[in-house]
Symmetry: D2
């Protein structure tokens, strides 16, 4: 199971509390949770959130004034791994994507009014939010092409556009939408802005929860296709300045990728644990468990090695991001994105094979992760884009 | 798209008829079919079956006397690839697993009464059947361990046992069950027998359709967990002799693996086609399709190479099996099982990556195959077992 | 060991004769041959050539009138596999690259005088030849860039240029050189010609035998860096027409890649045999050979599968080339080039690992092939170029 | 190039000195050094050693009293990476295997007399040494099987045995030999002892320098097959106690694997640098360098990621070994052994492919490392053994 490695005693105790919560409260129920429609689970999830609050574990990423634990990036990363072991771990503690990214964004760049109206209820876990960026008509891997427009009209923006993969839109209170406000800007990176849109705004519609990998999707566990048709919001719902959309997106994505990667490592650890347990308990012949097969042993060894490599790389990146800022670790962020996504899928795949037929049923979490995390190699930039981008950055130093 | 390579003119024309049927009748509807509960689709599926019959394309594997086309293994293999391009292709033509295996078995080893009662209605497509072998309590990769018992009691067998992954049990008329009849036989391979059990027999129950990879499963598209509790059937429902279970299973599996492999190649071709289409139509920048990226090109080239290798290997095996019998190609059967299953999953995985976010939605067939065919590396013997078995067979020639 | 699969009785007997020769005459000496300077081995090699002649096995690719056996491409491919099992197999039978390519070229396109002077002595094995194409200053993967010039001056060409990887130049009687004769041609593919240069021509010099992978190289087993400085040859030494260089090169390369691929498969078979022998004889504990380890078994199974796939693909390509010509199988030629080169290196690598420390010594042929065949993924077009070229050819069919 | 990451200023300056020395003194000459017979290079190597001494950089691993720099394991590991960039880097600074292992062993376990006679001259770089363990008759991966015997006879041991892969025996002053002294010990791990044998002892003979990967081998760059025939040495040449051979070997191997892994990472960095330089300078078309190809970019990105992962894992292991001792990091040592050896071979292989034909010549260091480091996956325990051993250690925690 996930190794707790901090050398600070207090923090170590905190990590142990999270681990205990996750093991005792979530592990016995999480398979049931992911196979039940989301809205049906909400009462139970709210109970767990209350418990998390009463134990002082809620919202670890927020400052203490904001009702959180004030953990820095490096510490939160370690909590994120622990929570990642259970599919709804982050949700229980209100540090789940996309809400956490929206909180960070509004915390750093939101106006006082935006904070009052959107951030604080979000922090308290009273509402959910989403983020509308990807468009079906354009390759998500090259976000500079975007058709959604937000036109200033007096004190309002009038938004028209078509988005999809708007995670958790179903039941969310508001979205942040990326829209072109400055189509004539010099750089394609200066054309778009981020604007808050409450989801009860006229003209907004959720066309469908996109069925993904065999699941209809619902509530927090959904990815929607949404439409903005002459959707009017106050101009004051703009975050930051016009044209800052991509700059803010980078700010949002940097730590976001750390969180994701650590969550993936949490999944890896849970899956690794299942693989080892199965290898020892499944017998090919009486007294001859699968674990005696060298192929199984090598899968276990290679998985352990690559999980360890993943954790060291992500933690190294988190430390450097904390010390030197997101820009300084741009190469490292690309590196961990493709490296860990690949490890994640390999470890899940091996665990399925070790489980045999059981591994493809919905009787274990393996099926859930095999399906839900296939996207890890695609979202937040396909691995291929990150590899090319890393290489080009390295090769710049070699141009004469 | 699937290449039609026969040099016999008549047969080539037949293949073209199948290809035309599949492209015109199935491709436009197959995504809808796999996302609709099975029983709801039955009327439409029956229409297609009637059409197949009226075109003289029904049951290609059966002899003409039995209402089929009388294709030999090599020819049927080529048809199987074409049908494999659509998830319900084999079903429409009544040559789908597990029914086809049961037909072959009863055709070769069934008594006159068994044929009358079970085989002929199956051949006409009036009923469905299933095959109960794998048990949750034992590793499927080592089938000699089996707890299901059939005890002779007068003119009946009394069957007790617990099976799962009984494909298509939901709605089937009968199953063939593997059960231990001779627990004291010398060889573990001589303990089990195959017995027919009509599914309305008292004591039989379908505990559940096992949810697999996010799908509840229904009707033909289900894999059930079933129970036999003091289930009594006439002794005349025994197929062949007592103790012949494994011998018959080998007979059943040999051609079955050829069919599966060719079906997988059909999937590969359809998926390959989708990958190329997407690569040419998705633009990263205006006029710059994904297809210009060298990584995409290499995935296409490597996929083409490995699909070609797969087809040549399976057809070579089919030819040799037809000439020399199943025993002579035991090594080749193991070889194609693991080789083609691996190619299949790789091609699907690459096609998903080329489709980006769309690839993980249920808006294309990729998600269906990614999930349903993950089992290909597990069922009919995990790849690891086939590899070891092939190697041991080769190494025998090196023992001094 | 290499499987002999022809169904024609006479030809099967011929293949068995080759196999017997190779096993009895070459296997006992070939390790010694590759670790001895080439010129020192010449007397022994000549003895073997005489024996091959006296057995009627010499020059299988040549027509009977030309002193050969008149095998077609498909048959010669099978002989090539057998000869490939020993590093000097092709040499003994005078069907080794680059001589065989030069023979084919002169046979098809040489003038009567060229044949008299160059082809016939080559066919009789009295002289050796080479082929000068690659230049150190240009990427070999894009041969249209070439600096070597041949300028017509009266009845002569005056050649200036710098070439390398001119295989077997050391001791050869003549080379065929690719040189630009028509720098202003419309297409870059029409600028170059092929011209014969006897190596005693003034102005030609062998700068060095390029040391490759730890070996100085000598005689037939060398790759030279050569220079042409105002090297004058009669205009009648032009092969074909001016500007036909690339057209002829394609003619030369097509069957050449079949030969290479079959030779690689021969190496694979020999190496596979060594791997199995070692796995059975090396004990980890008394009575417990390496072969009981599942990893070793899987290497053996995967190697067998991919060697089989390779052979089927190359033979399929050879058959189609024979039936339909080289142009019709352009995609297949690219496919086998990268597929088989990859398999070759994998099989060698696994065999080394199975041999442990012995595998890296020069006490077996593994070290020779590991080093000499690393080039297989580079020469005749790097694998990456063939993959892209195959993909682009496929994708053309998808352009709207 | 190798990143210098220490945060201590003095140590950072020291690393920079090493880097400067390596770049200025070794890089310009190292290709020449590895293609010249060793003994011919000795005068030049001695010059460099003198220079290293005069700069205060000699023997970084030794304590200051012993003429070294007193670097701890973590610091020395970083130096080791820098030295690893050049094939003779460690040799110049007298911290090369096998001498460094012998120094550590004698330092920790040698008697006063042993130190005087063997250790101090070795530390001063006046003599070389070697280590005789592997035997041709037994699988090196299971060292408990050993035929070499040392029988106590009065005040002497009489040693008989046959060893190979005795690295650097050619020209060494003494070897440490592993020999069975207690054949009847309870545990196979308590049968062997380590004994010093001066190489001028009667009965010792160097049968040959084993030719490896195309090189005869000479002096320090050799691996010998040696024989001990009634070789008599004083009983006082026993290191530690009788039966402690394996215990001492573990002590020797622990830090040794850290050194090796960091050396491999140094090679990776040099090779990575060559790959990038080549990718930018080699043009496929005018102005279109290889570096624009996505495949090349991905090789660069994947290499950078895996080199980074390697360094973090090895440094993490070094830190923990330093804090908690070798036993506590047994799993980690196995992990880095197979992980880094694999990365090393992949990076070298990609760099060769990027260099095209040049990559297989001896005109760059790539050929040297491709050949010399293939052993990395074999020596110090084949990767397969380390993987199984790691897995078994992990799985112990899962046994009920």
């Amino acid at each position: 199971m996930t190794q707790i490695t901090s050398t600070e005693e207090n923090f170590t105790q905190l990590l142990q509390k999270y681990q205990k919560f996750v093991e005792e409260k979530l592990f016995p129920r999480d398979l049931e949770l992911v196979t039940t429609p989301f809205f049906q689970s909400v009462p139970f999830l709210n109970e767990l959130r209350s418990e998390a609050k009463s134990l002082g574990l809620f919202a670890p990423h927020l400052s203490k004034e904001e009702g959180g634990l004030g953990l820095d990036l490096v510490k939160f990363a370690q909590v994120s791994e622990i929570l990642g072991q259970s599919p709804l771990g982050h949700y229980i503690f209100n540090c789940n994507a996309p809400d956490i990214g929206n909180m960070e964004l509004l915390h750093l760049f939101g106006s006082k009014e935006q904070k009052e109206q959107f951030l604080y209820p979000l922090q308290r876990g009273e509402i959910r939010s989403c983020f509308a960026m990807t468009e079906p008509g354009h390759a998500g891997s090259n976000p500079i092409h975007m058709s959604t427009l937000a036109v200033r009209d007096g004190d309002e923006y009038v938004i028209n556009g078509h988005k999809w993969f708007t995670t958790a839109a179903d039941g969310a209170a508001f979205t942040i939408v990326m829209a072109v406000t400055n189509p004539n800007a010099d750089s394609p990176y200066q054309k778009a802005s981020m604007i808050i849109v409450p989801l009860d705004t006229a003209g907004y519609s959720n066309l469908r929860n996109i069925p993904i990998m065999g699941e209809p999707g619902e509530g927090y566990l959904s990815h929607s296709e949404v439409k903005f048709e002459n959707c009017r919001v106050p101009a004051s719902y703009l975050i930051g300045q016009e044209g800052q959309g991509f700059v803010l997106a980078q700010e949002r994505l940097g730590p976001g990728r750390i969180h994701h990667c650590m969550r993936w490592i949490g999944i890896c650890e849970r899956v690794f644990d299942m693989m080892c347990t199965r290898a020892m308990s499944r017998e090919l012949n009486p007294g001859k468990p699968l674990a005696e097969k060298q192929t199984i042993q090598h899968w276990i060894a290679e998985s352990r090695a690559s999980i360890k490599a993943s954790r060291l790389m992500v933690m190294d990146t988190a430390q450097n991001m904390q010390l030197k800022g997101a820009k300084a670790v741009k190469e490292d962020i690309s590196t961990i994105k493709f490296f860990v996504a690949d490890v994640l899928m390999q470890v899940i795949d091996r665990a399925i094979q070790v489980h045999g037929a059981l591994g493809i049923t919905d009787d274990t979490l393996l099926s859930f992760w095999y399906r839900h995390e296939r996207g890890a190699r695609i979202y937040d930039g396909p691995d291929e884009v990150h590899k090319s981008s890393l290489a080009r950055s390295i090769l710049k130093k070699y141009s004469s």
